[in-house]
Symmetry: C2
Subunit: 219 residues, 2 copies
């Protein structure tokens, strides 16, 4: 029996690559490359900072990884442009089906659990049309341990006040869904980009192409 539905934010509810437009507006021809490196470096930096034991909040990592992406692509980033691109992160678009699915499930406990620091994730949820359905927002920043460490998922579990088998966790990110499964949550991988299954000896409980599929867990 699932009591809490917990959603990753970036790439799962919100389309991270909608920052691509902001990148393309500023840097025609290089926007796609910059936005892709920005995202991959952002992931790499929080993995590495976790491994180095040198925590830094997600907003600063996001800024650092943007700077790297611009350097890699031979582009000079003014303070003004940097602010503009960082602001794009606060106005990400929801994926198309998200609002309707969450509305249908709004009798359940619906929670966003993100590596994003509160100053990034709270405004993002608040400006979106799903705000009325979200019971709480949990940030890994509260314990300064990022997903996919067991410590991060355990923090979410403690905030939820249910047992770990009563949690259904959704993420589009393989590293996140497998970290959650390894910890002991029920998991539904929202495989939006038709990625192959990872070779990590862990399988998610369900795989869907978008969030619509999760309704079968609550019927």
């Amino acid at each position: 029996m699932i009591k809490a539905l917990v959603f990753d934010a970036y790439g799962t509810l919100f389309d991270v690559y909608s920052v691509r437009k902001a990148c393309n507006d500023l840097f025609p021809d290089k926007g796609d490359a910059i936005s892709q490196t920005w995202r991959s470096k952002q992931l790499e930096y929080f993995f590495l900072r976790q491994l180095f034991e040198r925590y830094k909040p997600f907003d600063e990592i996001t800024r650092d990884s943007l700077r790297y992406a611009c350097k890699e692509n031979g582009v000079t980033l003014s303070k003004e442009d940097e602010s503009r691109l960082m602001e794009a992160y606060l106005e990400l678009a929801l994926f198309e089906e998200v609002e309707e699915v969450l509305k249908d499930l709004s009798e359940k406990q619906l929670v966003v659990f993100s590596n994003g620091s509160e100053n990034m994730i709270a405004p993002l949820v608040d400006q979106s049309r799903i705000q009325p359905y979200i019971d709480s927002v949990i940030s890994a920043d509260e314990i300064k341990q990022y997903k996919p460490t067991p410590a991060a998922y355990n923090h979410a579990l403690e905030r939820l006040g249910v047992s770990r088998e009563e949690v259904l966790f959704m993420s589009s990110n393989p590293w996140d869904i497998l970290g959650a499964k390894s910890f002991g949550f029920r998991t539904a991988w929202i495989n939006r980009n038709e990625l192959p299954e990872e070779e990590l000896d862990i399988q998610p409980d369900s795989i869907y192409s978008d969030l619509s599929g999760i309704k079968e867990w609550t019927e």
Copy 2:
């Protein structure tokens, strides 16, 4: 005063992309893509397994990441081909300058320190022309904690029997050189691919385009 010179293996002494030829022999047109994903997934898998706290030896991770790379590229991998590609990892080429530099420094304690499991790293060193100059090979597998965790560098330090400031560590991998610097080793980043500096608030002590530059540390 530097007492021990410690070298990462894959990408630093040995050219990892020389497996590209083996990939191209088996899969014309897709060899480059497969070998690049193979390497990037290999890195991702040991970062993730460290974060999940689900250690697995490097040889098995290398096999897993090869399987993923083949799936991603829509290629069927027979057992025979898999063995052939795995064997290519045991016969990687040295970068051009390596033998001469290590020969010149052979009065010093020269050590290879790798995430590679002993069954991969020992045969690789033994079949190479630098074997006579290497005093010892240290594997992160001995403590089942991968670089770039502080635990891994600390294990190497204990094996070396010197103080951490007496170690000069060389790697071409940014995540490795910065992990070592964060731990407290002196570091020389062998930036073979002219990568931009990372935005991780840590800088290596020196940056060289190949290993020849490290001689100035020992004069």
